[in-house]
Every structure is written in structure tokens, then in C-alpha cells.
Assembly symmetry: C2
Homo-oligomer: 441 residues x 2
Amino acid sequence: MDPIKVGLLGFGTVGSGTFTVLRRNQEEIKRRAGRGIEVARIAVRNPAKAIAALGDAAGSVQVGDDFNSVVDDPSIGIVAEMIGGTGIARELVLRAIASGKHVVTANKALLAVHGTEIFAAARAKGVMVAFEAAVAGGIPIIKALREGLTANRIQCIAGIINGTTNYILSEMRERGLDFATALKGAQAHGYAEADPTFDIEGIDAAHKLTIMSAIAFGVPVQFDRAYIEGISKLAGIDIKYAEDLGYRIKLLGITRRTERGIELRVHPTLISAKRLLANVEGAMNAVEVHGDAVGATLYYGKGAGAEPTASAVVADLVDVTRLHTADPEHRVPHLAFQPQSLSDTPILPIDEVTSGYYLRLRVADVTGVLADITRILADAGISIDALLQKESEQIADNGETDIVIITHETLEKNVNAAIACIEALETVVSRVTKLRIEALN
Amino acid sequence: MDPIKVGLLGFGTVGSGTFTVLRRNQEEIKRRAGRGIEVARIAVRNPAKAIAALGDAAGSVQVGDDFNSVVDDPSIGIVAEMIGGTGIARELVLRAIASGKHVVTANKALLAVHGTEIFAAARAKGVMVAFEAAVAGGIPIIKALREGLTANRIQCIAGIINGTTNYILSEMRERGLDFATALKGAQAHGYAEADPTFDIEGIDAAHKLTIMSAIAFGVPVQFDRAYIEGISKLAGIDIKYAEDLGYRIKLLGITRRTERGIELRVHPTLISAKRLLANVEGAMNAVEVHGDAVGATLYYGKGAGAEPTASAVVADLVDVTRLHTADPEHRVPHLAFQPQSLSDTPILPIDEVTSGYYLRLRVADVTGVLADITRILADAGISIDALLQKESEQIADNGETDIVIITHETLEKNVNAAIACIEALETVVSRVTKLRIEALN
């Protein structure tokens, strides 16, 4: 059988990684897929640069800057969208679908924001849209959620799904750096972009979490409902205090099914240092999934980079190659659940989320301050799991001292109300820093 | 569409777990699979006991002791073999295939030993034989290897794939127990069977490793070529010395592609305590897979138990339900590679394997003994990475002392030859205890 022909849109990190892996492992891939898979055309803004990068391989592929002509080319069976973003990428994906092409994409933003539109279009045309590379790079987490755990009523997912922020947090903890210094180091090492906003403010993680949440619980993608808090305001002192209390701080994406709705939130989170997830360091990713039958499972690997991401793109190309001539009803539904079976379970606003909390505040070291604070918490029905008052040697010259409180699980809005009361105390001389704690059960 | 009907053979831990999970999550599973999946018949040696165990659910299913009549029943679409072993299970699986049934099995021994025969029969009849539950219980590792990592030339797999032995090793290390005491505790807690041979001698792990090796490298299952060494002879002192040197001892299944052949071996192994894999404790399983594109990935979860194993069985039932009416060529090949593309790369005998080594021996504390030993190693071309001589307080009254040597990577047969020379020294008063070290790269 002739190889199936792929049209690559974009030739940046992921696009060129995909080309390299497909070419290097073509024999092994063919032994698995039963059919060759080859990149026949590449559309890219700067063809000359791509041709230079291709080197010896340039002769095997047609490179140009006309994206539409690749998408429309009847000899192309699969369009691999490696451009990113929600502008031209959306138009090209929809155009590819309209012309009956199967699509493979690594574009988390596109699917988290426009997934409903794209999957509906794909269904109407009977084509596949595969997106393993959109979440956690080379870790086959989409396949695990959509196919490997189908027996389960999935209860919750908690993941380290942004390598940039995990690298920064590891550096802050291990080397005692503040955020700005750690960010500069991450940029120098190529782990953070010149404009790091998408990563450090949690937006990238929220895109990925939105996709996993839809697949896990059978709900539409609803990125606009996600609660998102990044790490740019995280203080080094909180990483240290957390460690003193047996916790590590990770930027987690958490999505959980509760009786009142679905939690969908990204924020810095304290987790017990004993958990495997807490020990995922540097730019690595890991996703912990809890199912009612399987219990806890965890998936770990590289979440970014040319070849790890290409690993997921090519796995999707193999899946599409195997299944593209099969009856669409035999395929796994895009969002894991049959489209007519999606649920309208609401996404919970952050105020309605239940969590444990870490509260840090600075107080004047006068009699009765602790009694006032604990009274406020008790009146709000919030019970205290641990309390850390820094010892006298650490008290500032002005007699002020830090207090750290770990609470049991409680409703976010109750904690916020209590914090407002605490901040109104005259003896409390700082705002209250609030971080969430995840027990992972 | 009517539900697809499953015939369960056997109603022990996994069979009853499968029934429970399918029943409890039937709505969720149907939302995913697009079709109901129901257990219509159960064949079991003692139907009365099964009916009692079924309780209220007994009315929904036909229970009997005639295994053949379930396998032959034309209304049954999928036979789920939950008997285990290589006797009657093999006959029933082949009979099911011959009558055109798809098969789901958790039977690692059957596939590791008779896989070639069974997969050939299934191919000839165009039916699926799915076996996610055969390796690492609820962790979807078969799917990850067969589908999630298809882009990669897989380089090596190292796994904790037997929960019983991992539990025993955790207890030995954490509580300083000897093997016999830890085994008794494992039996008391239900983590080890009354006859624990299959687990503690590494046979169960070797069955699972054999299956993963075939899928990873595209070779036939060759259980008879596996090197197998269990933990029953492991001394507590080696766990302690290993820990002093920064290692933990795990029973690992290791399979690796080398230029000279494929390694396929199960034995107690030292791994750096810093690795995630070293921190998998208790009865949990984890598999680390290295691919040339993706790098290292790790998969963690419960490797045994009724519902974790049922999670994998039901995932297979969903896969078969989706794909059973599709053209067989669209399915993933049983052993991940197209059957005509299997490789005849040989399995390396253990003598030809390269590894680091931990050597422990007892010597008379006389001048020159260390010089003699290090001279023997140097003459054999074996370089020393670390050497631990217990200090005087730990020397026995008779002046004897333990020496522990960590070597760099070298050929097993060279180490064996050097050990023979060391044991022939008059100053060496014990046999040499040899354990392998895995760098996981």
C-alpha cells in the first residue's frame, strides 16, 4: 500500500520534530502501522528557512507558503496543524475538515476555546481530529483517559501540566531563589519564552486542563469557566514555610466531579512532599487520575520539546492511519463520550470549591492576637489542622511575627469571609496570603 | 442497539470485580462506548457459590458450570477468560477463537507461554484477543506501549510489575525485617498467597515482562528465554548497605534492545533512591519506558486487586465493542507490530548482559586483602565506582569485616569470572553476594 501523505502546517519546534521522528523511525512505524506515513508537503511562512533546516531531506518534500493549497490538496490524507494559536490555525483546521481531511493537532488553546465548533464540524464530515500532543507532550494521557480508563467513573485529575512553571518552582525551592530570578534562569535555559505570560499565569495549563476535564467527565470544553491563578505572585517564603510543614508547592491543574458540579481550576497548590506528584521536578510533567475502579494512577514524562511532542503527534498519525477508512462509529469519540451523551453538569465557580487552605499573615506580637484569629476561624466553622508561629529569633525587630495556618477542608467563600475579618483586626499588619492545599484523594 | 453480551469464564477476584464494575458504571460506560456491555453468562466450577456472591444481581445473569456451553453460545459476543493458568484456560480461549468469539483475558502466563499459538489462531479467525489486564493491573501500559508510543524506537522498559514482592521489599526496608518475616506479614495482609512461589521467585513478573518485551520490540513472546531471579534469597543487610550507598532494591523486570540482542530479565535490582521508580512503595506497580523520541515516561498505579484489574478488563471490553465489527486490518495488531513484521532479534543469555554490579563479601581483616580483590577486578577490566568497608566498630569479634563494591557497567560473564577468583582467595571467608544495578538510562 502507498504511504499515507501528511501535510504539515507550520515548521517550528513541533513541526520539525514531527518531520524528524517520522523520517528517522519510518521503518519501525511502518512495521506497527502496516502502512508508511510520510510528510509530502510543508506550508510555512518562510519556506527558505524551512528548506535550509531540512537539509538533505528537502528533496523528499514540497515546501511552500500557501497554507490553503496544502489543506486543499486531494493527495493529502492528514493535515497536521503545528501553527498554534486560535486565529489562522482555527481557519485552516476548519477548512481541512470541510475538505474531508483528517486532522492532527498539538494546539491546546484552539481545542480548549473552539473545541465544540471543531469537533461538531469533524463529526458532520466523518473525519478524525486527534490531539494527544495538546496535553502533557509525549505522555499518552489523552489515550489513557479516553480509552485506558473507560471502565471508570473518573473522580478527579490533578496534574503538573506546564513544564516552565514546574521548572521555576523547582529552582525556587532547591536554590532558594525568588520568582523573578528563577524566571530569568528559566528563560536563559530555554524553559521559558521571552514573553512568559501564557505559562506563568497558568493559561497554558488551563487550556490543557479544560481538555482533560471534558474527556474525563463527558462535558463540553469550557475554558471560559476555568479558574486560573499563576505563580508570578508566589513568594519564596511560602515555599519555605510549606516545606517546613511537609508540603511542596506545585502549579496544579485540578478538575474534580462533585455532587454540586465540576471543579476546574489552576493555581499554586500545596501537596504532601511524600506524594509521587510532589517529587516531579524540573520541566517534567505528570498527571494523577483517580477512577472509582482503578484508584489512583499516575503518568509521567516530558511535557514539551520537539521530539517528546512529536512522539504524541506521530502516535496520532498512526491511529488515524489505522482507523481513517473505518466506519466513524467505530472510532473513539473526540471527547471520549458519545456526542449525544455529553452532560450539562455545571462548572463550579471558585467560591463554591472545597479545599484545604494555607494562610500566612504577619501580626504584631501582642497578647490575644492568636485568640482573635482562631476565634474568627472557629466562628466561620473552619477547623485548624496545623499552626506555625515563627519562634522569637525569627521575629522582626519591630516585634512582628509570621503566623501560618493550615485549615481542614472548607468552602472557599467561607475562607474568604474569614480572611476579610482577620485582615480587619488591628493586630494583623499584612494582607493574608492564601494558598490551596490538595489532599489528592 | 442491543448491549453486547459477555460470557465470563471464572468468577474469582477478577471475574467478580469485572461484573461489579460493569454493573455499577454501566451508564457511564454506555455513554463512552455507544453501546451497552452486559455479562449475560458466567461459567464457574461452583455456581451456587457464585450465585450467592451475586446477591440481587443473580437474576440478571445465567450462571452454570458448563464452560463450553458459554464459549459456544452464539449470543455471546465476547468471552472474558478469568480462570488463569495455562491448562483449561488455553483450551477455552482457543475454543472461543475457533467459534469466532473475541476474547478478553487477564492471563499473563497463558500469553507469555502460548501467545504465539493464540494470536495466530485469532488472526486466522479475524477476532481480537485483548489483554490489558495481563500486565500491571489497572495501569493502561499495554495501550501506552502498543498505541501511545508508536512513534518511538523503544529502547528499554524497567518495571515494578509484581505488587507482592514490592510490598515485601518495602516492609524489609522500612521496618528492617528479614525476608521470611516480611513474607508472613504480606500473607497476613492478603498481599501474598499461601503458596507465594510465582510471585516471590519472579515468575509472575517474568510473564508480564515477556509480553511487554514482545510489544515494545516487535519480537515473539519468548518466556522460556527470560532470566528469572526472585527475592527469596535477598538478605536484609543488602537492603541496608544499598541504602547507605544511595540505592533502593526493587524486583525489576528489565527488557532492553542492544546491538547484540534483547535483554529480558527479572531480578532484585539496585536503583538510585532519587528515581521516581525507587519511590514506588507497598503493593503499587510502576513501569518506566524509554523511547528515542519521548525520552523517559512512567506509568504508576495498582497492579492487582479486583477492581483495578477489572478496570483494565472493562477497558478491553469497550475497545472490542467499538472495533469488533471493523475490518481486522484497522485494529491494532495483537503484539503491536504487524505479524509479518516480527523480528528474530535474539534474546541475550544473562551471561551476555551488561550491567553495574553490587558485590558483598566478608573478608578476614588482614593486610592486603583489598589489594588482592581490586587487582582481580582490574585484571578483568572491571572498574570500581564505590567501595564500602565497614568500620571497625562493625567488625565481628573474629576480626572479619564486610566489603561492598559497586562496579561500573561490565559484562555479566566477566563479573562471574572475577567473583570465582575472589572466592578462591584464602582471605575471603564468604561467598560473594552479587546484585545488579540499573542506571535507568
